[in-house]
Amino acid sequence: MNLRRIILKELLERKKQFLTSFIAILLGIIVIVAVKSVSNSSEKAVAIQLDNLGANILVLPQTTTIDNYYAADINAPEMPEDYVDRIASSTIPGVDNLSPKLSARINVQNHSLVLTGILPKNELASKPIWQTAGFADPGLQAACDPNNIMNRSLGYEDPKLQRQVIDSLGEYDCLVGSDVASKLSLKEGSGIKIKGTELKVAKVLPQTGTVDDGRIFVHLHTAQKILGKGRVVNAIEIMGCCAAISEGLLGNLRNILPDTKITTINHIVQTQVETNKTMEKFSVIFLIIIILVGGISIGNYMWSNVEERKREIGSLLAIGASPRDVYFIFIGKALILGLIGGIAGYLLGTLAGMILGPQIAGVKVLPIPLLFVWAVVIAVGISVIASYLPARRAAKLDPALILQEI
């Protein structure tokens, strides 16, 4: 026999009373874990979706418009290529990839096409749809989190991989969109002359259904030469980590490039931010509810338990138990209540998230180990705090008043 066994035996003896408080804390933890699991998976899903869209931030000259950029207007304003270095050399978190571009409309064999100069490594990395055609390693996809184990295992941080991508587009090589290839009857290895410069088709890009199908991609510096421009670009596409965007990446970029226009794929980011905010609000509301309902329920249960066990406490003190032992009996009981509630709440909440996640948010939900720690800490914390006063009262009970029987 020991105090721990006394606690367990009492719990088993008075199961019904115990169950009421247990259910209160269990339900609270289930809801919190389920909401957190779904929202977390939803955030990840949106982040990956955003990554898969390629670049999600555009840095444009101050006087330009998004329409100028997509129309590749020959008179579109330009900005120094040095801006790329300015971003790259900054320590702004969340910039995953940079893709400077210089675009201009040109005429080739009576076809109006868009010539776009790119720095290939960056361009390819920010266009995952191309990577499926074998231009880049899949490790460069979903690069929102470079510390992600999966990304590392795919070689995201391997510099050799990225160099290999740069080498794939030589000074006089070009990549042609599917519409261009079909209009000019081009295939891999064909030659094409643009404004007096002979280029070789390194690859015909698969159809994307975007403006890229009508582009000819060459090295940025080759494009600058062909178009007779200096070291300028008219857009820098940035693949920004979606969490970093909501945490102020745009503001940071504006600080280092004050004379530019910085824009983002607003609706997607805003949807994600709004979803996160809603889920966050839900979590906070449920946390408050569980603290109030669970705490009051456990506190009330413990008060009644102390009242009910006064005689038992008195005899334990008379036998030789110290007030500290009595305190331990009640706090120990609260600890067990919280521990079981936290563990069971995590398991059932995760299960609920896995079942409801695909139906509510359309995302696959996987167990989040960190939530286990949170669930147990919250459940044990609420239980122990709510039981503190009843346990203290039990330890301070006057055995004489309890044991005086006549």
Binding site: I6, K9, R14, R311, E312, L317, A318, I319, A321, D325
Partner: protein
Amino acid sequence: MIKTENLSKTYNSKGNSVLALNEISLSIEEGEFISIVGPSGSGKTTLLLCMGGLIHPSQGKVTIEGVSIYDLDVKKRAIFRLRNLGFVFQTFNLIPYLTAQENVEIPLSLAGTSDGTQSEKATELLQRLGLADRLNHKPRELSIGEQQRVAIARALANSPKIILADEPTGNLDPDTTNETVGYLRSLNQAGITVVMVTHNPGVAEYAQRTLRLVDGRLTE
């Protein structure tokens, strides 16, 4: 062995104060069997609990084996009780969700006895009190007399030198009363000092000496 000097206890409740013990001075020698009698509210239980270190007196001193128990802090007094005193109550005060054996094991556990020894000693005590076949029964499964015997076994668990019994026969029928008092006498014959509060003059006669309390004063 037990000595009280000018022991007084006043209860204050809702602005009223009640003098439960009024300057009690007494001395109980080792191996004595003492009964304390008196009408209801005379302060018998208060005196017993004061001697047991459970009620801090308003004034005066209680010394057991030369130790002034109220000069000890709460923790040390609990340890002192654990090692030197055994309590037997009128309503037994057994823990309802523990078996007879587990109830007897509690004081052993509080004294830091190992699990194996606890079980051995509890079994031996319950066997001595004729409860060998009731080891795994909970209090509600035992008769009143059996419950009181479990309570006595629990009081004896740490081999105390003193047994303090508060109306140990108050809830018992005549046969069980005789049986319980018989156990207390045999314990006394084995050298244990017994102090028993009772309002039953017949039971009090079993003691070697009877102390009478009236309105918190010792009258004989």
